[in-house]
Amino acid sequence: MTNQPNRIASAFENGKAFVAFITCGDPDLETTGKVVREAVKNGADLIELGIPFSDPTAEGPVIQGANIRALKGGVTTDKIFDFVRELRKDVTIPMVFMTYANVVFSYGTEKFVKICSEIGIDGLILPDVPYEEKADFQPTCKKYGLSLISMIAPTSHDRIAMIAKEAEGFLYIVSSLGVTGERQSITTDVGAIVDVVKKNTDIPCAIGFGISTPDQARTMAQKADGVIVGSAIVKRLDQYGKDASGPVGAYVKSMKDAIKDL
């Protein structure tokens, strides 16, 4: 399956979107496959597949742990490509890769992105590639029809308009300072950020970092087009290991149910 234009947009056509993050190969790719399919069955609108990196500087302890477990389990970029090729036979919702610049750059950006387009990956999220450095990746993504997803942070202020104007796919709004991980409360005025974004672009906004409960998801989804959840899912993988697909599916359902009618 090759890339279809605007498949990412379709994730936001079914009420507020629920974006599920899963680290590939945690604890093994077979489990990742089961968890992804269960998340899709229970209402996930977009899947963010993490390619593990040895030194994930934007992650909190939970996702750091998943990266270590996956790498210890022997997963590699090539094995993940094969896995996605297989997954795409029955998973039709949009899927993007989340990884770090070096994983793509070191593989060969052109080679990496070309394979992504061939196996049906719709976009790329690279948390250590800000607006200023996207020229290393964006033209290649464009050539092969992938969206390079941009991020906006609570500290972005005067940068929001600039980033939003050139954003593709969807905008990833970082809800809080710091690294990924569950939070008791989110204090950033996310609504104000989204207002600026909406003045500058028509593409959808999804809010991530720190969201774990249906209540939080509902509050955040009221202010945007969707929510992104990673650590709360990865935590279940840590807890249930190879048996995680059931608990993750139930969790995804509770989250999607909380936001779908907004």
Partner: protein
């Protein structure tokens, strides 16, 4: 040598989360404002002279010169600075800048502990809060420095993620900075990380080569033939090289930690074993596997135990202006012992890598040639570890 957006040739850049972008932009603006500000420079020079003890000596190592029988050897004595290493030069500059920016809290990473001690020291001096991230392995290798930092009023956070060494301390300090930016300056200890750090740190360390040039001109009336320094991230090396980059007759030699050898996996020699990558905010050379996973590097020296190298060094390597050579643990330990006996100077194990390479090339050079070796730090912190390396059961 910095291009727009902090590029050194193809290296450098700002590969960091969006959360930190305004912080580095603000830092760059403040640095551009203060770097030529007479008042700021007067304050910094006063601290250099009256707190750090600059200028540091350029010492003629007569015994070593005679024993090796070749080039005349001078030692640039950064080990004599307050806190015992070159690290204080950069910390005084950055802390003063941070204070001008209204920051009240310094965070830092440390490997051997020298940068952590320098940051804790200057934080105490300037009345700032200080948190130092240190790999758990390094807290064991350098237990005395941990206590020293605590004595100076800093919090020391042992980092257990990854390999528990310098690279993980950098990652953790970056994570901390993304969670608390408003009152906090990340006082990066080497010429690495995102722009503008490689430029700022270089400029504050360039005092080393400025002094070498002046002091040697006074003593010998000429430039050296070679300047040799150890390289981890590369701050003492770039400081030693910088004012000689435009003097093509001066050979610039960086000594990387080869650990147990560059043909083993237990090495930290980035130029000799790494390849181009993007990590810790910069494009440069890194020790990594075929999938771009950062390699767990090794060196007896906690200060050189880092899988990358500063972007300006990567560029100096690309254009052939500087040469980067591997030095093994064993060679460094022998040089550590040699300099202690022959000149009565115990160098840091990091600096001993530079001494080791000078011992190799000095005998092959003419007697009218001059080598300057930067002794980046003193070796007190390493004595127990070297004793253990030699099989003696000695602990800090």
């Amino acid at each position: 040598m910095t291009n727009p957006r902090g590029r050194f040739g193809i290296h450098g850049g700002q590969y960091i989360p969006e959360t930190l972008m305004n912080a580095v932009i603000e830092l760059e603006a403040a640095y551009d404002h203060y770097k030529d500000d007479p008042e700021f420079n007067a304050e910094l020079n006063d601290l250099f002279a009256n707190y750090a003890g600059r200028p540091s000596l350029l010492y003629e190592a007569k015994h070593m010169t005679e024993d090796l029988g070749g080039a005349k050897i001078y030692l640039k004595r950064e080990d004599l600075n307050h806190t015992g290493a070159h690290k204080i030069n950069n910390v005084l500059g950055q802390a003063l800048l941070a204070k001008k920016m209204g920051k009240t809290r310094l965070i830092a990473e440390t490997g051997a502990g020298q940068h952590g001690v320098a940051t804790a020291t200057v934080a105490a001096l300037l009345g700032m809060e200080c948190v130092v991230f240190m790999g758990i392995e390094d807290t064991k290798r350098q237990a005395l420095n941990v206590y020293r930092m605590k004595l100076l009023g800093a919090d020391v956070v042992p980092v257990t993620s990854g390999t528990g060494t310098l690279k993980d301390a950098v990652s953790e300090a970056m994570r901390e900075w993304t969670s608390r930016i408003a009152d906090t300056h990340y006082c990066l200890g080497s010429v690495m990380g995102p722009h503008p750090f490689p430029t700022i740190v270089r400029d504050f360390q360039a005092v080393i080569s400025k002094e070498i040039k002046e002091q040697l001109m006074e003593k010998e009336g000429r430039l050296p033939d070679a300047v040799i320094a150890c390289v981890g991230g590369g701050s003492n090396a770039i400081g030693s090289f910088y004012n000689f980059i435009d003097d093509p007759s001066v050979k610039l030699i960086g000594c990387e930690a080869a650990g147990r050898g560059i043909d083993t996996f237990e090495t930290a020699a980035t130029i000799n074993t790494g390849r181009l990558g993007i990590f810790h905010g910069m494009k440069s050379y890194f020790c990594q596997d075929k999938y771009g996973q950062i390699a767990p590097v090794y060196s007896i020296s906690a200060g050189l135990d880092y899988p990358g190298i500063g972007p300006e060094h990567a560029h100096l390597h690309d254009i052939g202006r500087a040469e980067y050579v591997p030095v093994t643990d064993e060679e460094a330990v022998q040089a550590f012992e040699y300099l202690s006996r022959i000149e009565g100077i115990i160098p840091a194990i990091e600096s001993a890598h530079a001494v080791a390479y000078a011992m190799k090339i000095a005998p092959k050079m003419d007697k009218d040639q001059i080598i300057v070796i930067t002794i980046s730090g003193r070796g007190d912190k390493d004595v127990a570890a070297i004793a253990r390396y030699r099989g003696e059961d000695l602990y800090d």
